[in-house]
Symmetry: D2
Subunit: 392 residues, 4 copies
């Protein structure tokens, strides 16, 4: 198709309704086991993180919620944090639990062999539910670092049973209109076995719990070569895709900017989403970022990420689905593929710029933010204190 100057009405409507949740920790320092580099202006407390996150929304108009990580984002008064977010133009999204940084969790948390450690981990999640309610959120996200490094270290089967029991206790605390989402991950920090390594395991636990439990798909948490869009289609078919953690990877869980490593994969994923209408708010799928900006500017990286998802979603929405179905009916492999690629190669940037201007947003959010002076301002203001990172 020729480069469109405006978006079709329905595409514009869908994009206007579509939103992405950003992670508070994406605005703090991150790195690898080798080194965490700091940057001037990095937030020193959860309020500053939210202030930065609000910039992402201010410039893109598509990132109205901020996920918290508990206890990294612990504050004395969560209602004050909620109110502060509101003043900044955003709200609190998912609450992410953390059972991987206390010494007691060295050998597991909800799967731990010792009931006392499991108790502690369960109670942590119940506390997270309190934080959730105190911040106006309705969702608790559970990612477990649980696993083992050596064959024989613990019983794979027994840990599954412990996990089921622990989750059942947490689930009992989930009220109407609330939900938990369970994230799976192929490996890291455990290097022999991981207790929730794949979508099948996450889904089985959710099915056992009930309808308020759903699966989180993190695009970086799969084995090499995994067809992620297949999993998306499958989880949507089961009505159990609760949330997305967007990022990208070349090797392991690299946590790079979404769309940076393989933009065509992002397009294929979003096309599966679009085909099942899961990009619409009514689907209940929460689209989130979960990334590390180790080397690059964090706010800029977040804005770029939101734009990458938005642009790619626009492409996915532009696929001529009637023509595609027709080519598929005729088993015309190359034409079907060409119809998909036509949308992928269409330059949606001019039309998106126009769309943003209509909404009173900068046509070019990335450039506009860079020119805004915000980063220079906070770098000058945020002197002293401890920059926040992956720690409470």
């Amino acid at each position: 198709m020729t480069t469109p100057t405006t978006l079709p009405t329905e595409v514009a409507r869908d994009l206007a309704e579509f939103s992405i949740e950003v992670p508070s920790w994406g605005y703090g320092n991150s790195g690898t086991r080798f080194k965490v580099f700091g940057t001037p202006g990095t937030p020193r407390d959860p309020f500053e993180k939210i202030a930065d996150a609000a910039q992402t929304h201010a410039f893109t108009g598509s990132a109205p919620r901020v996920s918290l990580h508990y206890p990294w984002d612990r504050v004395e008064d969560f209602s004050a944090l909620r109110d502060f977010a509101g003043e900044q133009g955003v709200s609190i999204g998912m609450i992410n639990s953390n059972t991987f940084q206390d010494d007691e969790y060295k050998f597991g948390s909800l799967t731990h062999r010792d009931a006392s450690v499991r108790r502690r981990a369960i109670d942590h999640h119940l506390e997270c539910l309190e934080v959730m309610r105190a911040t106006g959120s309705h969702e608790l996200k559970i990612w477990l670092a649980d696993g083992t490094n050596y064959a024989g270290q613990d019983s794979i089967r027994a840990r599954q049973d412990h996990l089921a029991d622990s989750l059942a206790e947490i689930y009992a605390g989930v009220g109407e209109g609330e939900r938990i989402v369970l994230e799976y991950k192929f490996f890291e920090p455990a290097f022999y076995h991981t207790d929730v390594p794949d979508w099948g395991t996450s889904l089985l636990h959710c099915l056992a719990l009930g309808e308020r439990a759903q699966v989180v798909l993190d695009t970086g948490h799969h084995a090499p070569g995994t067809n992620i869009e297949f999993i998306v289609a499958q989880l949507l078919r089961q009505n159990r895709l609760g949330a997305f953690d967007f990022n990208s990877r070349n090797y392991a869980d690299d946590d790079l900017i979404v769309g940076a490593a393989d933009p065509f994969q992002l397009f294929r994923i979003l096309f599966e989403i679009v085909q099942q209408d899961a990009h619409r708010p009514a689907s209940g799928v929460n689209f989130m970022l979960d990334q590390c900006h180790n080397l690059e500017s964090k706010i800029q990286g977040q804005i770029r990420s939101v734009l990458n998802v938005q642009e790619t979603l626009a492409k996915a929405l532009l696929v001529d689905r009637a023509a595609l179905a027709d080519a598929q009916d005729r088993h015309d492999v190359l034409e079907a593929n060409a119809i998909l690629m036509d949308a992928f190669w269409t330059d949606v940037r001019p039309a998106l710029a126009a769309f943003r201007e209509e909404q009173g947003l900068p046509a070019e959010p990335f450039e506009a933010f860079r020119a805004s002076g915000y980063e220079e301002k906070v770098a000058a203001e945020r002197v002293g204190g401890n920059q926040m990172g992956w720690g409470a």
Copy 2:
């Protein structure tokens, strides 16, 4: 532990009861897309395949069943084939369907966009059920080559729905005391998406069908790095591990001799089996070989495979599980691992030789078969005709 000269009573009992099913096609020619090499003496019909397969059982005492592949193993009178097997000292095991070699299946079979092709594929499976009954078998194994090579070629979601419907029709034909098992595979022959790519997908379809549907785990059908023993433990926990396809791999679905590429992986898998008593006949898990002997002698390769599984199972049975649980309770990672490794490194071959002699079997089945003259005999006899391979 010191090298045992005899097996503990319970281990000997378990090994005596344990059996492995061999594939008829393992005795025919196989290869890669580049070349299929032939060998003198290769069977020219299903009867000769069964005769060869019976050698594996005669020398190991542990391979009493032969899987058939239909229509590769089509004969005019299946009861004659069943009787012939009986005379050779073996019986017919699983019937494997084939929906990947007719031109009509170019774009799929049970998942095909066109109802007429699905009909044909469903009917083929119903016919396989007939073959199953005619040969005294009770099990139908379904592996599908279905998938696509290019994004957009077909609808991933629609194909799942077609698959569910097609399987339901087949399942309706499965009687009491019978079962179907559904195999998953990461990729090949499809290179973009595969319709049953992972255990989760296979399990979801089995759950939707009912208790007579179970999952087949082929050890070569996973993404790089996948922890297969975890999947074993998980499927056993769901009571849905129907069968195993043993082989080994370094790269893709290499179909090498089981235990050849990573003997420690085989040990870990069998230890998960043993911990849930799934090696016992009562578990209903059918342990099968599914391999290609492209370069090596086929019967020798099959015997070696049976011995590899048997020896490794003996090691898994020798793990001091009480001591292991105790070390795990103390979170003594290295001792727990050492207990496992102690069994792995124990040389069970002398005790197994003694065990075999007690059963009236050759102490060294591999060497005994090589010395038996069978290969020379069939090479001399089987002159003319067409050697069988991966074709009907």
Copy 3:
């Protein structure tokens, strides 16, 4: 950048000079070890393959050479084949040797333990040099299927030594103005070790031989996750990148259409090419396709492939390299990346259509070929005979 309606002069010049070589075997049938599907109209002899290949050039203007595979493309009179190609508007490109389909090569060819088999394989290559000269070609491509399936099967080290000696004998036959290129491959058809598995091994042998020996990089012949553009940059730095085999892959050596699996990877690769001016004919790099069109129309697939490379090369040429260097100097990670992505997302199709029309070519070669009636014509004409595939 905004969508260009015409290409900048230098870009147009570079594209006009750039050419892609197509493989004769890409026009024949191909498949997997499971099944090779036939298609009406598939060539029955090398002349028909060249006629089909010439269509790719006629519609794209960028595919003037056809690689041969010997003995698959053996004809009685190679000068007649050369002349026929000339009449069709194309010439003969690289000659590809074949040492993987004779029974003697079951355990290797140039690396074989037995001197007599090595002799045969060396002589085959010397014969290929004759074919090369008879067809007006100057290049011999060597890809070896050599390797082993089981640890211990043969000596890895001894095979390297044999390989070095065998190659030296072949190299002695390479005259001035001629060259050999040595292709590496991660695995398949060998599943334990491959004798030329990586670029390092290929390069070491080329360095030992001399300047008329160079490396072939096939984009599908690497381990999962390998950064191929790094290898491109490294081989160019050594002046040893002789040729490219384009295709794409999701899993193993899937041999899909170039750019189909990961178009951004193709862009990154071509950008490394462009940065070292290696896209220019003077570089001596031969850009070739090596693909399997198992399910799709073969000529259409080839045309699509040529267009994918051409479009992506245009994008790579449009990168604002001065701005990129400036952003790199400032360590502005996101701006540097954005400059690259700007070119990637630019829709070059309108400008390329205009460029083609100026050259007297169809603006849309893919659609034009589909509308030409050629496929229907050959399907009607080519009745009887044996369709060609991966066999002599």
Copy 4:
């Protein structure tokens, strides 16, 4: 073969001469980006690390050298450290440079775009050469964290040129009887491209430098599926295998105990070593451990590692190489493989216990160390101070 009670004379001699170098940092805390767990008794300074490392040698008799990491192991008086090591019965081995933890190295070190940063990194290596001499060492090991996270971030080619120049400056400082070894790594901490990602790149730089530069092979630094023993054979064939970093992995660079993830791979690697006599001190290959003991006891983990290498080397030495060559000559794939496996499955532990006792060592070093009370003693003594980890 039957379980030997004593080692053959030549095997005993080879094992007596064989030694493994242990890393000082293996005795400090380590972990993942998620968490570093501490343990009572962890060393607070380089002297305590060496004291712990000396335990590994005291109990195994095979770990007489300790690698240092600079500046992690910086002390005021290196000759004092050297003397302390001597008193503990060990000596200082390789000096490992570190250019990944200063803020200046955020975008690279020896490859950095800015000459001033390269200067600093070069000077650091020259300083390491001083440390080397001050500690009685003769070897400098270079592993670079250099790379990029995003396409376009920097010029892959220019960085190679910078690397070559920087290494040349360092190499100029390497005297007779000294050497540098250059380690390659597939990825991490860089996630798009790594400047020395594979053995080919490392070897090219070493070849350009001269004979005092050799390659380090770390068993965890390869793409999934890589045949590492092939690389070993290839580097030995080039006389450029300088050193080994032993560890094991299931996924990425997991840095688990050597032999823990895939003991058969370790055996195959050591068998290639043995076949080229590279296990002998005269080969100049330095066999080292490079591991992280995140969860398990560090000294115990090191002892287990040394024992794993020693036991596996014994197996590799027991391979009946004459019989193997004979089976290979006959292309008897299964017999050749069986000869290898026979050695692998042979239980060498009783013979090794006897061998150790003859040398005045504990028959069971792992158990003996655990019973020695050393860990309890240092846990009680080392109170206060800062436990050492991956930091200066």
